[in-house]
């Protein structure tokens, strides 16, 4: 059968041009097996299929050891899948690139660079002139609430401030997708709440695609358009929940909202916390 008027590149993919334009990330039957000692192997991810739309805030939620971070690293190009393929704007992901900006739980700042030096780093790498990179970075530093700390070194900052720097550093080189790996996992509850609010404010301004890994149900529901619930090892997608709550979201209102509460309770029920509940991955 002939399919006229269809560009060749799209023939046979089963994706219409409308769908393709919206799909930013496509994870097609990805599995990941880790070799462990004694010729055994550990299946971390099994047959993951997921599409992330352009501009969507998607959280991956699951118990520790469900491979949710591994999935994020595969999209980042830091880890190669054992089977299947991850695509970014239709092209197979073969390695890291500035179109996908990671933010890690461990901050991973460059300790020999000041706050400004860290935020500027990616821009300078992309050949942006120093004065221009500096101006843009100063603006970002102000946006994440660190005005006045431009010339501090990372070790002089608190955990929350470090993560603000890390977020600014990644936003600076304008990735199409933010890959956030339990970014607030190492912070105390109060700081965590403040950073969630600030992240949401920043995100609601430019609606970048975000893939957000967390083990906190409240955090996932509060931030996301879509929550992907995963099962324990081997990591499989158990359910994908669309979070239909109006934006901009205000925490104080949301906490009293019965829809929000129902999402939290429902999703908590989906997670098989299993026998052990030992910390986070």
């Amino acid at each position: 059968m002939q399919v006229p008027l269809r560009p060749e590149s799209e023939a046979g993919t089963g994706v219409t041009s409308g769908e393709r334009a919206r799909a930013m990330i496509e994870i097609a039957s990805v599995s990941k097996r880790f070799e462990t000692s004694g010729r055994k192997s550990h299946l971390a991810l099994s047959d993951i299929k997921l599409t992330v739309d352009d501009g969507a805030f998607v959280s991956i939620l699951g118990p520790s050891g469900c491979g949710k971070s591994t999935l994020l690293y595969i999209v980042g190009g830091f880890v190669a899948p054992s089977e299947g393929v991850a695509r970014m704007k239709g092209a197979a992901i073969t390695g890291p690139g500035p179109d996908r900006g990671p933010v890690f739980q461990e901050f991973a700042l460059f300790p020999w660079k000041t706050v400004l030096g860290n935020v500027m780093y990616g821009l300078r790498q992309q050949g942006v002139k120093r004065t221009e990179a500096e101006a843009q970075s100063l603006h970002l530093i102000e946006m994440v609430g660190l005005k006045g700390f431009e010339h501090f070194y990372p070790k002089e900052l608190s955990g929350g401030m470090k993560q603000r720097v890390a977020i600014a550093r990644t936003l600076a080189y304008r990735p199409s997708v933010l890959l956030m790996d339990e970014p607030f996992g190492a912070l105390d509850a109060h700081t965590r709440t403040r950073l969630q609010n600030d992240l949401l404010n920043i995100w609601e301004r430019d609606r970048k695609t975000v893939l957000f890994v967390t083990h906190s149900v409240e955090e996932a529901v509060f931030l996301s358009d879509k929550v992907v619930v995963m099962t324990r090892a081997p990591g499989r997608i158990k359910e994908i929940v669309d979070i239909d709550l109006p934006r901009p979201r205000v925490r104080a209102e949301l906490l009293l909202d019965s829809h929000y509460q129902k999402y939290v309770v429902d999703i908590e029920g989906m997670i098989d916390d299993g026998r052990d509940d030992a910390g986070h991955s």
Partner: protein, 261 residues
């Protein structure tokens, strides 16, 4: 911190030196043997040794060899150590080799090296090079191995290539550890410098020292010990200042305040 206390902190190395000299003085007076001159006598001999052009040239020769040996070792050992720290293959190749060389006193190789390269500069510089290399390789290796994976990933996401990550992330991140190795290397350079000249008795500070020993010129012997010791202290202090400037971002907060005061 009161200023009086900070003055004491700053002067403490000097006070320690003076204390040591005082103990030496008392011990020498008490023992009263010819082979143990007093501190005061040895100190008086220092300007005599340094004032003699031939002796001074000898000492400068030593320093030149030490600087060349140390610099070569650092330039070669840092990249090697970093490569070993980041690549399992490079490490698997060099590790057994280095483990064999490690316990051998480098001065013990001196006779063989002299056989090949003669008693001149080349063999002495080579021994210094060997003495400095191992701690610098080891610390560079440890430093590179400890670099956080996520830091490298962050760099990769910004578009840094493998080599760029090595030079612009692994090197600065490992720098505090590398410089610790270099500091150890500097002291070892001084030690191997003296021992190499003690074995190949042709020129240098070690040569003066052991010639004086043979001729029972004990005040010259002790003056040379003071000179070599002072050289070590000055080099170490200068290097530590340089190290502090390069890696003040890694020092605990309090030390920065202390250093800035």
């Amino acid at each position: 911190m009161t200023s009086a206390r900070s003055i004491v902190v700053k002067l403490s190395p000097l006070l320690a030196c003076l204390g040591l000299l005082a103990v030496w003085q008392v011990a020498a007076l008490w023992l009263d043997t010819e082979s143990f001159p007093t501190a005061w006598h040895a100190l008086q001999t220092v300007p005599q040794v340094l004032g003699d052009p031939e002796q001074l040239l000898n000492i400068l020769d030593s320093i030149r060899r030490m600087v060349i040996g140390f610099s070569l070792a650092v330039v070669i050992s840092i990249p090697l150590g970093l490569a070993m720290g980041r690549s399992a293959r490079v490490s698997a190749f060099f590790n057994p080799l280095l483990m064999m060389i490690y316990p051998v006193p480098k001065a013990a190789l001196m006779p063989i090296i002299m056989l090949w390269l003669g008693v001149g500069d080349a063999s002495k510089t080579l021994v210094i090079f060997l003495g400095v290399s191992l701690p610098v390789i080891y610390h560079s290796f440890q430093g590179a191995k400890a670099v956080e994976e996520k830091m490298l990933w962050s760099g990769a996401a910004m578009g840094l290539s493998g080599l760029q990550r090595m030079i612009r992330i692994v090197l600065p991140a490992a720098l505090p550890e590398i410089l610790t190795g270099c500091r150890t290397g500097l002291v070892l350079a001084l030690i191997t410098m003296v021992t190499s000249e003690m074995i190949a008795r042709q020129s240098g500070a070690g040569n003066i020292l052991f010639n004086a020993m043979d001729m029972a010129q004990y005040d010259t012997v002790f003056a040379m010990i003071i000179i070599i010791g002072a050289l070590g202290i000055v080099l170490d202090a200068a290097f530590d200042k340089l190290r502090w400037r390069l890696v003040k971002w890694a020092e605990p907060h309090q030390e920065i305040l202390l250093g800035a005061s």
